[in-house]
Protein backbone atom coordinates (compact mmCIF):
# COMPACT_ATOMS: atom_id res chain seq x y z
CA UNK A 1 0.00 0.00 0.00
CA UNK A 2 1.27 3.45 -0.91
CA UNK A 3 1.89 5.47 2.24
CA UNK A 4 -0.03 8.58 3.17
CA UNK A 5 3.10 10.70 2.96
CA UNK A 6 3.45 9.93 -0.74
CA UNK A 7 0.01 11.38 -1.43
CA UNK A 8 0.66 14.38 0.78
CA UNK A 9 3.93 15.16 -0.99
CA UNK A 10 2.19 14.91 -4.36
CA UNK A 11 -0.54 17.25 -3.10
CA UNK A 12 2.09 19.73 -1.92
CA UNK A 13 3.84 19.61 -5.31
CA UNK A 14 0.60 20.17 -7.22
CA UNK A 15 -0.41 23.02 -4.91
CA UNK A 16 2.95 24.70 -5.39
CA UNK A 17 2.70 24.38 -9.17
CA UNK A 18 -0.74 25.97 -9.02
CA UNK A 19 0.57 28.84 -6.92
CA UNK A 20 3.44 29.43 -9.34
CA UNK A 21 0.95 29.54 -12.18
CA UNK A 22 -1.22 32.12 -10.43
CA UNK A 23 1.82 34.30 -9.75
CA UNK A 24 3.49 33.94 -13.13
CA UNK A 25 0.77 33.93 -15.74
CA UNK A 26 -1.09 37.08 -16.70
CA UNK A 27 -3.85 35.32 -18.62
CA UNK A 28 -6.99 35.36 -16.46
CA UNK A 29 -8.24 32.02 -17.73
CA UNK A 30 -4.97 30.25 -17.00
CA UNK A 31 -4.77 31.84 -13.56
CA UNK A 32 -8.27 30.53 -12.92
CA UNK A 33 -7.27 27.05 -14.09
CA UNK A 34 -4.33 27.16 -11.71
CA UNK A 35 -6.74 27.92 -8.86
CA UNK A 36 -8.70 24.81 -9.84
CA UNK A 37 -5.43 22.87 -9.76
CA UNK A 38 -4.76 24.10 -6.22
CA UNK A 39 -8.25 23.06 -5.13
CA UNK A 40 -7.62 19.63 -6.59
CA UNK A 41 -4.34 19.29 -4.70
CA UNK A 42 -6.16 20.13 -1.47
CA UNK A 43 -8.79 17.50 -2.29
CA UNK A 44 -6.03 14.94 -2.72
CA UNK A 45 -4.66 15.86 0.71
CA UNK A 46 -8.13 15.58 2.24
CA UNK A 47 -8.62 12.10 0.83
CA UNK A 48 -5.16 10.97 1.90
CA UNK A 49 -6.02 11.97 5.47
CA UNK A 50 -9.44 10.33 5.08
CA UNK A 51 -7.75 7.02 4.43
CA UNK A 52 -5.12 7.63 7.08
CA UNK A 53 -7.63 8.17 9.86
CA UNK A 54 -10.29 5.92 8.34
CA UNK A 55 -12.93 8.69 8.38
CA UNK A 56 -15.73 9.26 5.91
CA UNK A 57 -16.20 12.97 6.70
CA UNK A 58 -13.26 14.08 4.57
CA UNK A 59 -14.96 12.62 1.51
CA UNK A 60 -18.05 14.67 2.29
CA UNK A 61 -15.84 17.72 2.56
CA UNK A 62 -14.27 17.01 -0.81
CA UNK A 63 -17.77 16.68 -2.24
CA UNK A 64 -18.63 20.15 -0.93
CA UNK A 65 -15.36 21.59 -2.20
CA UNK A 66 -16.21 20.27 -5.66
CA UNK A 67 -19.70 21.75 -5.70
CA UNK A 68 -18.41 25.11 -4.53
CA UNK A 69 -15.70 24.93 -7.20
CA UNK A 70 -18.38 24.30 -9.82
CA UNK A 71 -20.34 27.35 -8.68
CA UNK A 72 -17.15 29.39 -8.59
CA UNK A 73 -16.27 28.31 -12.13
CA UNK A 74 -19.68 29.41 -13.41
CA UNK A 75 -19.49 32.87 -11.84
CA UNK A 76 -15.78 33.32 -12.55
CA UNK A 77 -16.09 32.45 -16.20
CA UNK A 78 -19.01 34.86 -16.53
CA UNK A 79 -16.79 37.55 -15.03
CA UNK A 80 -14.00 36.65 -17.46
CA UNK A 81 -16.37 36.91 -20.43
CA UNK A 82 -17.50 40.31 -19.14
CA UNK A 83 -13.91 41.46 -18.65
CA UNK A 84 -12.87 40.37 -22.12
CA UNK A 85 -15.87 42.19 -23.58
CA UNK A 86 -14.93 45.39 -21.74
CA UNK A 87 -11.19 45.42 -22.35
CA UNK A 88 -10.91 43.21 -25.43
CA UNK A 89 -8.27 41.04 -23.84
CA UNK A 90 -7.83 38.45 -21.11
CA UNK A 91 -4.78 40.14 -19.65
CA UNK A 92 -5.21 40.67 -15.92
CA UNK A 93 -3.16 43.87 -16.11
CA UNK A 94 -5.90 45.43 -18.20
CA UNK A 95 -8.31 45.14 -15.27
CA UNK A 96 -6.67 47.85 -13.18
CA UNK A 97 -9.34 50.53 -13.32
CA UNK A 98 -9.74 50.49 -9.56
CA UNK A 99 -6.12 51.52 -8.99
CA UNK A 100 -6.47 54.57 -11.17
Amino acid sequence: MVSTTHFLVLGAILFTIGTVGVILRRNVIIMFMCVELMLNAVNLTFLAFARHFNQIDAQIFVFFVMTVAAAEAAVGLALIVLLSRRTNSVDIDQADTMKW
Binding site: I17, G21, L37, A50
Partner: protein
Protein backbone atom coordinates in the same frame (compact mmCIF):
# COMPACT_ATOMS: atom_id res chain seq x y z
CA UNK B 1 1.95 -2.98 -8.59
CA UNK B 2 0.18 -0.39 -6.46
CA UNK B 3 3.36 1.66 -6.21
CA UNK B 4 3.78 1.47 -9.96
CA UNK B 5 0.28 2.86 -10.55
CA UNK B 6 0.89 5.59 -7.99
CA UNK B 7 4.19 6.72 -9.48
CA UNK B 8 2.84 6.59 -13.02
CA UNK B 9 -0.24 8.68 -12.18
CA UNK B 10 1.75 11.06 -10.01
CA UNK B 11 4.25 11.64 -12.81
CA UNK B 12 1.46 12.25 -15.32
CA UNK B 13 -0.26 14.65 -12.89
CA UNK B 14 2.89 16.68 -12.20
CA UNK B 15 3.94 16.87 -15.84
CA UNK B 16 0.41 17.85 -16.90
CA UNK B 17 0.29 20.50 -14.17
CA UNK B 18 3.56 21.93 -15.44
CA UNK B 19 2.16 21.92 -18.96
CA UNK B 20 -0.80 23.97 -17.70
CA UNK B 21 1.62 26.69 -16.63
CA UNK B 22 4.04 26.75 -19.53
CA UNK B 23 1.69 26.31 -22.48
CA UNK B 24 1.43 29.32 -24.71
CA UNK B 25 -2.06 28.45 -25.92
CA UNK B 26 -4.88 28.39 -23.36
CA UNK B 27 -6.61 25.48 -25.11
CA UNK B 28 -3.56 23.27 -24.60
CA UNK B 29 -3.47 24.36 -20.96
CA UNK B 30 -7.08 23.26 -20.53
CA UNK B 31 -6.38 19.89 -22.15
CA UNK B 32 -3.34 19.38 -19.92
CA UNK B 33 -5.50 20.21 -16.91
CA UNK B 34 -8.01 17.56 -17.97
CA UNK B 35 -5.18 15.01 -18.12
CA UNK B 36 -4.04 16.10 -14.67
CA UNK B 37 -7.56 15.75 -13.24
CA UNK B 38 -7.98 12.29 -14.74
CA UNK B 39 -4.72 10.97 -13.29
CA UNK B 40 -5.60 12.48 -9.91
CA UNK B 41 -8.94 10.66 -10.18
CA UNK B 42 -7.02 7.39 -10.48
CA UNK B 43 -5.21 8.31 -7.28
CA UNK B 44 -8.59 8.96 -5.62
CA UNK B 45 -9.54 5.42 -6.58
CA UNK B 46 -6.35 4.21 -4.99
CA UNK B 47 -7.27 6.06 -1.82
CA UNK B 48 -10.53 4.13 -1.65
CA UNK B 49 -12.76 7.06 -2.63
CA UNK B 50 -14.52 5.61 -5.65
CA UNK B 51 -17.46 8.01 -5.53
CA UNK B 52 -15.24 11.07 -5.37
CA UNK B 53 -13.12 9.69 -8.21
CA UNK B 54 -16.18 9.34 -10.44
CA UNK B 55 -17.36 12.83 -9.47
CA UNK B 56 -13.90 14.12 -10.29
CA UNK B 57 -14.05 12.67 -13.80
CA UNK B 58 -17.66 13.63 -14.50
CA UNK B 59 -17.91 17.05 -12.87
CA UNK B 60 -14.35 18.37 -13.03
CA UNK B 61 -12.86 16.82 -16.15
CA UNK B 62 -16.24 16.72 -17.83
CA UNK B 63 -18.42 19.68 -16.98
CA UNK B 64 -16.11 22.36 -15.59
CA UNK B 65 -13.33 21.90 -18.12
CA UNK B 66 -15.79 21.85 -21.01
CA UNK B 67 -17.08 25.17 -19.66
CA UNK B 68 -13.50 26.45 -19.64
CA UNK B 69 -12.96 25.30 -23.21
CA UNK B 70 -16.17 26.99 -24.31
CA UNK B 71 -15.10 30.28 -22.77
CA UNK B 72 -11.58 30.01 -24.23
CA UNK B 73 -12.96 29.43 -27.69
CA UNK B 74 -15.56 32.17 -27.19
CA UNK B 75 -13.18 34.98 -26.31
CA UNK B 76 -10.06 33.75 -28.12
CA UNK B 77 -7.15 34.71 -25.85
CA UNK B 78 -4.71 34.18 -28.69
CA UNK B 79 -3.37 37.69 -28.34
CA UNK B 80 -1.43 37.10 -25.16
CA UNK B 81 2.30 36.66 -25.46
CA UNK B 82 4.14 34.15 -23.34
CA UNK B 83 3.74 34.03 -19.56
CA UNK B 84 5.10 37.18 -17.98
CA UNK B 85 7.82 39.10 -19.75
CA UNK B 86 6.52 42.61 -19.23
CA UNK B 87 6.93 42.23 -15.50
CA UNK B 88 10.44 41.10 -14.71
CA UNK B 89 9.81 41.86 -11.05
CA UNK B 90 7.02 39.29 -10.81
CA UNK B 91 9.18 36.60 -12.37
CA UNK B 92 12.05 37.37 -10.06
CA UNK B 93 9.89 37.30 -6.95
CA UNK B 94 7.89 34.28 -8.06
CA UNK B 95 10.84 31.88 -7.95
CA UNK B 96 11.83 32.37 -4.29
CA UNK B 97 8.18 32.58 -3.21
CA UNK B 98 7.42 29.30 -4.95
CA UNK B 99 10.53 27.61 -3.58
CA UNK B 100 9.71 28.80 -0.08
CA UNK B 101 6.11 27.66 -0.28
CA UNK B 102 7.11 24.30 -1.72
CA UNK B 103 9.73 23.67 0.94
CA UNK B 104 7.32 24.75 3.67
CA UNK B 105 4.60 22.41 2.44
CA UNK B 106 7.02 19.52 2.02
CA UNK B 107 8.38 20.10 5.50
CA UNK B 108 4.82 20.25 6.87
CA UNK B 109 3.64 17.04 5.27
CA UNK B 110 6.73 15.08 6.20
CA UNK B 111 7.04 16.41 9.74
CA UNK B 112 3.49 16.78 11.00
CA UNK B 113 1.89 13.57 9.74
CA UNK B 114 1.52 11.15 12.59
CA UNK B 115 2.74 7.77 11.48
CA UNK B 116 1.30 4.67 12.96
CA UNK B 117 -2.32 4.20 11.95
CA UNK B 118 -1.23 4.19 8.32
CA UNK B 119 -2.14 0.54 7.90
CA UNK B 120 -5.85 1.25 8.30
CA UNK B 121 -8.34 -0.24 5.92
CA UNK B 122 -8.65 1.39 2.53
CA UNK B 123 -12.31 0.43 2.25
CA UNK B 124 -14.00 3.48 3.72
CA UNK B 125 -15.23 4.35 0.22
CA UNK B 126 -18.22 2.91 -1.48
CA UNK B 127 -21.30 4.98 -1.98
CA UNK B 128 -23.45 3.82 0.92
CA UNK B 129 -21.60 5.39 3.89
CA UNK B 130 -21.24 8.61 1.91
CA UNK B 131 -24.95 8.71 1.18
CA UNK B 132 -25.84 7.98 4.81
CA UNK B 133 -23.53 10.72 6.00
CA UNK B 134 -24.60 13.21 3.34
CA UNK B 135 -28.33 12.81 3.90
CA UNK B 136 -28.04 12.35 7.66
CA UNK B 137 -25.41 14.29 9.50
CA UNK B 138 -24.66 16.73 6.68
CA UNK B 139 -28.19 17.29 5.36
CA UNK B 140 -28.31 21.02 6.06
CA UNK B 141 -24.99 21.85 4.35
CA UNK B 142 -26.11 19.72 1.42
CA UNK B 143 -29.31 21.71 1.03
CA UNK B 144 -27.45 25.00 1.42
CA UNK B 145 -25.18 23.86 -1.42
CA UNK B 146 -28.18 23.61 -3.72
CA UNK B 147 -29.11 27.21 -2.93
CA UNK B 148 -25.50 28.23 -3.56
CA UNK B 149 -25.56 26.64 -7.00
CA UNK B 150 -28.88 28.30 -7.79
CA UNK B 151 -27.46 31.69 -6.84
CA UNK B 152 -24.33 31.00 -8.89
CA UNK B 153 -26.39 30.15 -11.97
CA UNK B 154 -28.48 33.31 -11.58
CA UNK B 155 -25.37 35.40 -11.01
CA UNK B 156 -23.65 34.01 -14.07
CA UNK B 157 -26.71 34.73 -16.20
CA UNK B 158 -27.05 38.28 -14.92
CA UNK B 159 -23.33 38.96 -15.38
CA UNK B 160 -23.05 37.56 -18.88
CA UNK B 161 -26.20 39.21 -20.16
CA UNK B 162 -25.62 41.72 -22.92
CA UNK B 163 -26.90 45.09 -21.79
CA UNK B 164 -26.08 47.32 -24.75
Amino acid sequence: MEELVFYLCAAVAVVAALMVIVQRNAVYSALALIACFCSVAVLFFQLGAEFIAMIQVIVYAGAIMVLFLFVIMLIDPESEGFAVNRHKRITITAVPVAALLGLLLLWAVTAIVPDGSDASLASTGGIEPIARSLFGEYLLPFEVTSILILVAVLGAMVLAKRTD
